[in-house]
């Protein structure tokens, strides 16, 4: 039976393709991105339907599918374009074959459904594979990118280094922070390191513990750690948790921490007489190079 259905479909491919294109086109307005040009939409639809037909012809072999999927992913089209398209194809094809058949009983219909599902299934499976493979790829790339961002160390001026932390800290990242911190202190010959936690959303006992340990380790190699950027709500939760940060200096802002760091390294900001805030000026001159 399957071969007979296939024959009908392949012989009438022009009609079926046209019906399919009409339906897809009607669905476009409601569903897909408005920014897609008509030409692009049409040529993509043609390409898509060719892939479906070549897959039916070659028993599920899908030659150009990979390339096509890559193109869709790059265009940013959602996987629903594929699944909707195949759903429409299924409906159009079943309708067409039924309209060409004279003897229709339940057995016939059940065989027809089975055949058409059998054609559509490999195409769906491979598209989903392509799409999800691509997602995994993106996720792992983003992981690498995030890791590079996760513990940046900025040697601001001689002997003073800043580590601005942004985002959630998990165990892996906490370890990385510790390593980078110690390496950086040695490499940049820092006397003071400012850890800025303005961008850390939650400081729980785990995060606090790692920060305390890091500060302790920094102290052991002869430098001082100052914790800065403690937002008011974070300060309150740290107190509620009963965490003692008394052993090392904390400052509410990076700016205050920086002034403290200058003090520790035997420097201070000299007001050159102008009205402008001396710190502001210093920061400006830092960026001016």
């Amino acid at each position: 039976m399957d071969n007979k259905f296939k024959e009908i479909v392949l012989e009438n491919s022009d009609t079926i393709v046209q019906k399919w294109l009409d339906e897809i086109d009607a669905a476009k307005n409601g569903n897909y991105s408005v920014s897609i040009s008509d030409e692009l939409f049409e040529s993509t639809n043609r390409e898509f339907v060719n892939i479906i037909f070549s897959s039916i012809k070659d028993q599920g072999e899908t030659k150009n599918l990979k390339e096509f999927a890559e193109k869709l992913i790059n265009l940013g089209w959602q996987v629903s374009y594929i699944t909707d398209g195949l759903q429409v194809f299924r409906r159009v094809t079943i309708d067409f074959i039924l309209s060409q058949s004279d003897q229709i009983d339940t057995k016939y219909i059940s065989e027809l459904l089975q055949s058409v599902d059998g054609w559509v299934e490999p195409v769906i499976r491979q598209f989903v594979n392509e799409y999800s493979g691509n997602w995994e790829n993106i996720v792992s790339l983003q992981r690498v990118a995030l890791q590079e961002l996760s513990a940046p160390l900025i040697p601001v001026i001689d002997n003073i280094t800043v580590m601005p932390l942004i985002g959630t800290i998990d165990t892996e990242r906490a370890k990385l922070i510790m390593e980078e911190l110690l390496e950086g202190v040695i490499k940049h010959n820092s006397e003071v390191v400012l850890i800025d936690i303005t961008g850390v959303p939650v400081v729980d006992t785990m995060v606090a513990h790692h920060i305390i340990q890091a500060a302790e380790a920094v102290r052991l190699i002869g430098a001082t750690c100052i914790l800065v950027g403690i937002r008011p709500e974070i300060a309150q939760t740290i107190v509620n948790l009963g965490i003692d940060l008394g052993k090392f200096p904390t400052k509410s802002s990076l700016r205050k921490g920086f002034i403290k760091a200058l003090e520790i390294t035997g420097r201070r900001i000299v007001d050159s007489g102008k009205k402008d805030d001396a710190m502001e000026e210093l920061i400006d001159s830092l960026g001016g190079e």
């Binding site: 729980d204 006992t205 785990m206 606090a208 513990h209 309150q236 939760t237 948790l241 009963g242 965490i243």
Partner: protein, 135 residues
């Protein structure tokens, strides 16, 4: 008394802790908590979720808004089928930890919320309910 549909997060991987915090924060926002209390709630959730992650094979955290005539608040329920806690008064002491941590988690949660109940049976698991009221 009316209650919203409960929302839960299963804790198995470390990043589930972040998921639980996010969901809890959403619920807390909906209940009308301010920034400081939201931070307290997120931190309490973080502690409970991390304990599940560290000391059990898995469990879940469930949140719901409590809205009765007198007051509005959030209920945080932590349930696991882990080894259980034998001496509850011991784990509620500041500084007690079997994992080299600060041992500030559970006593800290108790201070972060308004109501704190812990029930545990050795070999069966632990259930902790924490409630915070909107002020």
């Amino acid at each position: 008394m009316t209650m919203d549909l409960q929302s839960c997060v299963t804790i198995e991987k470390e990043w589930d802790i972040v998921k639980a915090r996010q969901l809890g924060r959403e619920v807390a926002q909906k209940a009308g908590f301010g920034t400081v209390d939201q931070a307290r709630i997120a931190t309490a959730i973080s502690e409970l979720a991390r304990n599940i992650y560290l000391y059990t094979d898995g469990g879940k955290l469930c949140f719901e808004i409590i809205d009765n005539v007198e007051q509005k608040g959030i209920s945080m329920l932590s349930v696991d089928n882990g080894p259980g806690i034998e001496d509850i008064s011991q784990v509620m002491e500041d500084g007690y930890s079997t994992s080299g941590g600060l041992g500030a988690g559970l006593p800290g949660v108790k201070r972060l919320v308004d109501q704190f109940d812990i029930q545990s049976e050795k070999g069966k698991g632990t259930e902790i309910r924490a409630v915070k009221w909107v002020r």
